[in-house]
């Protein structure tokens, strides 16, 4: 039923905007026809027909405005809408006198093009003929004297003339239905093309929005990176200041002692100056190395942690054997989306750290394991070494944390290793933390997003 009368490609009444815009146009059009009818048929007819036409037009407009939103929701209400529309039209034309068929033709075209309810060809013919049915009914009622004749008293049309309007109407209305449906098909094609263009436009818009969002994310990443770099540089600046200002302050002491002839004292100050200069130099070297290993560009790839460990084996074997450390590697290590060299650096550092501090324990071992959980790849390097006191857990990840101002550096090195590891992990959007108690061994955990990030910097 619906398929026969209503067109499927466009929903009934989905041109609400067009309808609303058409209301004043249509009201205006009625008055134009009204004026034409009045001038052609003489003032008398016009005066006689004026009030009912005005009322009917107003009523029709209001009824349609009220019904229209409902007609949008239900097909049966759309039918009612059409019927009311046709009835109202018929009544209007009824009052228009002898020109009503011509008026009906023009207004009907107007009407169907503007209502927004899209009909099939059959639908157009059906409504045109329902229109005629009403019209014929009215004439029959008039001719049998059931209703009064308003409009053509002075024209004195006889019965046959009045009935003759019906076959003329039959031809004219069906012709109108044919033209309208043809024109409407053309219009519909254009509408469908427009709708398709709109869909494409919407797709493009969405793409642009998506691209903008991606750009925002990249901007955010760049800002984060910048912030981390700034923090790093600021921290390093602070650390470098210490030995340098120590040198600045010791030089006058040296000069004074040298002038006084206190050779031993002067020599002592000179040694202090030298040690601090060396410290600053070592910091600069370590810094350069750290930047090289953490910040240099490298593309992301799928990295098998087991493979990374195998590649490190020859490097760490000597250390393991010398201290008699057993290395236990889980067989099911996960793969991760990362920068291969950087990730190797992380594992190398964690392993060499574990080896370095393994001394002094019976049956030392190091364990490496990992798993994929939720959106993260988590792996760990665990040892049964002496452990790290809780208060140092945060500090060990800081740059130069081992470079306390004591001149003896001990075996720990310059304390950049874990800071670099942390920088690398954070550049991967990951996290690193330590779990350790004195005497209970140490576990370094690393969590990296399993999907990884796309930024190849």
């Amino acid at each position: 039923m619906t398929r026969i009368f209503f067109r499927g490609d466009l929903e009934a009444g989905d041109h609400e905007g067009a309808f609303k815009a058409s209301v004043p146009v249509r009201v205006f059009a009625y008055y134009v026809f009204l004026g034409a009818a009045a001038s052609l048929s003489g003032l008398g007819t016009f005066k006689f027909a004026m009030l009912p036409i005005l009322l009917t037009t107003l009523g029709e407009t209001i009824t349609l405005a009220v019904m229209y939103p409902w007609a949008k929701r239900s097909q049966s209400i759309a039918y009612c809408y059409l019927l009311v529309e046709i009835l109202a039209q018929t009544l209007i034309f009824w009052f228009m006198g002898p020109f009503r068929i011509i008026a009906a033709f023009v207004v009907y075209i107007f009407q169907l093009m503007n209502t927004g309810i899209r009909l099939t060809r059959v639908g157009y013919f059906a409504t045109a003929n329902v229109f005629l049915l009403f019209y014929g009914g009215l004439i029959a009622l008039e001719n049998t004297g059931t209703i009064r004749t308003f409009h053509d008293n002075n024209l004195q049309l006889d019965m046959s003339q009045r009935y003759a309007n019906i076959p003329i109407g039959l031809i004219v209305m069906n012709l109108a239905a044919y033209f309208v449906s043809s024109f409407d098909g053309f219009l519909n094609e254009k509408t469908v093309a427009l709708a398709a263009a709109n869909v494409r436009l919407e797709e493009r818009r969405r793409e642009v929005v998506e691209a903008n969002r991606a750009l925002e994310v990249t901007n955010q990443e760049m800002a984060d990176l910048q912030k981390r770099t700034d923090e790093f540089i600021s921290a390093v600046g602070h650390d470098l200041k210490s030995p340098l200002s120590a040198i600045c302050n010791t030089v006058p002491l040296y000069e004074e002692a040298a002038q006084r002839g206190g050779r031993d004292e002067a020599h002592g100050y000179l040694k202090m100056i030298e040690r601090n200069a060396r410290k600053a130099f070592e910091m600069a070297v370590a810094l350069q190395e750290a930047f090289r290993s953490a910040m240099s560009p490298e593309p992301f790839a799928r990295v098998d942690l087991g493979e990374v460990l195998r590649s490190l084996e020859s490097e760490i074997r000597v250390g393991l054997e010398r201290q008699g450390i057993e290395l236990r590697v889980a067989s099911d290590l996960p793969t991760v989306h990362a920068q291969p060299e950087k990730l190797t650096h992380v594992l190398r550092n964690l392993l060499t750290n574990a080896i370095k501090y393994a001394g002094g324990v019976e049956n030392p071992w190091i364990e490496v394991g990992g798993t994929t959980r939720d959106a993260e790849v988590i792996f760990f390097v665990r040892d049964n070494g002496p452990g790290i006191p809780r208060e140092h857990h945060e500090r060990i990840f800081k740059m130069f944390h081992r470079l306390s101002d004591t001149p003896e550096q001990g075996p720990e090195g310059k304390g950049v290793g874990l800071a670099v590891v942390k920088m690398i992990v954070e550049k991967h959007d990951g996290r690193i933390w330590v779990q350790s108690e004195p005497g209970a061994g140490t576990t370094f955990w690393v969590a990296l997003p399993s999907a990884g990030r796309g930024m190849d910097v």
Partner: protein, 138 residues
């Protein structure tokens, strides 16, 4: 004789401080290079209850075994050292650290510049010659 305790682990800074402050009459300087050791000394002096460890403390923040803040806390926790003037002398100049220092009861916060001798001169002048709160009526 008044005593200045320098808690500083960089030997060069310690030497400079000892040398500069010792030039002033009646000033005796002691250097401790380890935070933990400083805390032990404070606790010992408190238990003995005889004399304060010093008349003025110059305190670095980055120290081995215990930080300068921990030393400062232990000073303020001790009844007899509560009013002991403590001057933080450090490289760290972040607002957070300065705030933390004053919050924990530091009397002053100074930076280690390349002209530490001048800074120490001002410290001496202020804390040993000027720092008496003036009376309202002369």
């Amino acid at each position: 004789m008044r005593k200045v305790l320098v808690v500083e682990d960089n030997e060069a800074f310690a030497a400079v401080m000892k040398k500069v402050l010792s030039q002033y009459d009646g000033i005796e300087v002691e250097v401790i290079s380890d935070g933990g050791e400083a805390i032990e000394r404070i606790e010992k002096a408190t238990t003995e209850g005889k004399a304060r460890i010093a008349d003025l403390v110059l305190l670095d923040l980055d120290l081995p075994s215990a930080s300068g803040f921990e030393v400062l806390e232990s000073i303020r926790a001790s009844e007899m050292h509560r009013s002991l003037p403590v001057i933080i002398l450090t490289n760290s100049d972040s607002a957070r650290i300065v705030e933390q220092a004053y919050y924990l009861g530091a009397n002053n916060f100074l930076l280690k510049t390349d002209r530490l001798a001048d800074t120490l001169g001002h410290v001496y002048e202020y804390w040993f010659e000027l720092s008496r709160i003036p009376s309202r009526r002369p």
